[in-house]
């Protein structure tokens, strides 16, 4: 021990320092990957698309900006959750329907149809959309979302994502 030179001692300590840094690094990295991976995993999950029925076409005949709430089952993490959605349906005639999502394209509040003023307006930051879903005032950057629809066996279906 006593015969160790100053040079050897400092070399040894340099080794120790790198050793400590190395071990800390290895453990941190080994932990970071699974922990961060688990935490951000939901961002990579793809939702399944499916068709959800809105109701008998017959009953929606002549509908103008009619609000329909519907539910469907979807997995929410470990829960088999009942998702609730709300849309406005307009019968365009000839078996064609326009469905607007009520989700404001600004920050997600639910728009409402104003029959008197004949537009959709948002209760949050004053966004207004015209009958065709285009923005006419306020902050929303895009027209109202129009999920795909189809009619099959007399039932109107809407595409859920």
């Amino acid at each position: 021990m006593t015969s160790e030179t100053h040079f050897e001692q400092s070399k040894r300590r340099t080794f120790f320092k790198s050793g400590i840094a190395f071990i800390s690094g290895v453990i941190s990295l080994a932990m970071a990957v699974p922990l961060i991976g688990a935490a951000i995993a939901p961002a990579f999950k793809k939702g399944q698309k499916k068709w959800v029925d809105l109701g008998l076409v017959e009953l929606l005949k002549g509908a103008r900006h009619k609000k329909i709430n519907y539910t469907f089952q979807a997995k929410d993490g470990w829960v088999q959750a009942t998702r609730e959605r709300s849309v406005y349906v307009t019968d365009e005639g000839g078996g064609r329907f326009v469905v607007f999502s009520r989700v404001c394209t600004h920050l997600g509040c639910l728009v409402r149809w104003d029959e008197k003023k004949r537009h959709y307006h948002c209760p949050c930051h004053g966004g207004i959309f015209d009958e065709t879903g285009n923005v006419i005032a306020g902050p929303p950057p895009r027209p109202l979302e129009r999920p795909s629809v189809k009619v099959e066996n007399g039932i109107l279906y809407v595409r859920e994502v």
Binding site: P42, G55, L59, R64, N69, F72, L110, W113, E115, P141
Partner: protein, 390 residues
Amino acid sequence: MRRRIAAFFESRLPLSDVVNHLKKPLPKHINWLFSLGSMAAFLLILQAVTGAFLALYYSPSPDHAYNSVKYISHEVPFGVFVRGLHHWGSSALVIVVFLHLLRVVLYGSYKAPRELTWMVGVILFLVVLGFGFTGYLLPWDQKAYWATVVGVEIAGTVPLIGDFIAKILRGGAEVGAVTLTRFYTLHTIWLPWLVFVLVGLHLFFVRYYGSAGLPQNRPEEMQGGKPFYPDQLFEDAVAILVLFILLAAAAIFIPVPLEELANPTDASYDPRPEWYFLFLFQLLRYFEGPLEVIGTFVIPTAAIVLLLLLPFLDKRERVPLRKRPVALAVTSLSVLAIVTLTILGGRSPKLETPSEPSIKQSESPSNDANQSEDATPEEDADDTPVFDFN
């Protein structure tokens, strides 16, 4: 006996050194604004203590959260008081931390060598807002749900990675069960750990650099004041007592709001955030279409960066406020802007509930068209009376 116990510890630990540390004299002319920091620390402890008790009964799942909070308010003995303290305490914390920040700005106490104390403080302020944001989802009522929907969408407007951030915050594509456990965990584990580390650092820096005192203090006055313990701490304690009495009164006399259960399809609900986010809510109204991101991201980020870097942007010597017209003007204007936006946001008109074509429940498609269990369209009850949807 007491003496023997004291002697036991005295001979083993440097207790008197610790006490001496606390007895170091402060600068002269310390006024009550210097108690705001201690008041914030007290409130943080109060939040931790009341939160730990709420957590005994609270259940972070969409099926149970709302009822568990109701249970706390209506059935747990003293539950309504504890929840009241936690609720009003969180508002008080936001106010006190903000005032503390203001006094540091107005006295120029952020200047060298106290840049680190300041920067940790700015982060602490953000963490306090983070507590508020994650906290008010927990009751799972309408306000909780919609404030979170909008709040997460705001994060979603960050250029490029916004969508990714929003999904991580929500734990999926929508606010739901996973979101609630996430927010609960952030609120009760991650943020508290973070806050106590940051407060520890903050206080260490405060002690290490010593109080900056008033800018007009001459160098010989910097050590000439009263000791922190017990003189200053007594004044702090009085301020804290006043604060506590106010909070306890609020907890007893002002009911903590709990709105209806969260409802993702409610047609008549006008979402509004907690009062301390109203300025942001109002700000968002002014940026339309493609400019949206200015209100949601650019201004808030710029404000945070400017705040963080303040000590490096303003390196002039510390002088009394009356000799800092620019600082005074910028600070007053910022405060005025925030207060004005908050008031406007609070007053922003709710939508009158317009009439809307609707069909009677009996004619509703749900009654005929849908036998299948897993896709049931339905008119909700608020639609039933024709042409009225409130």
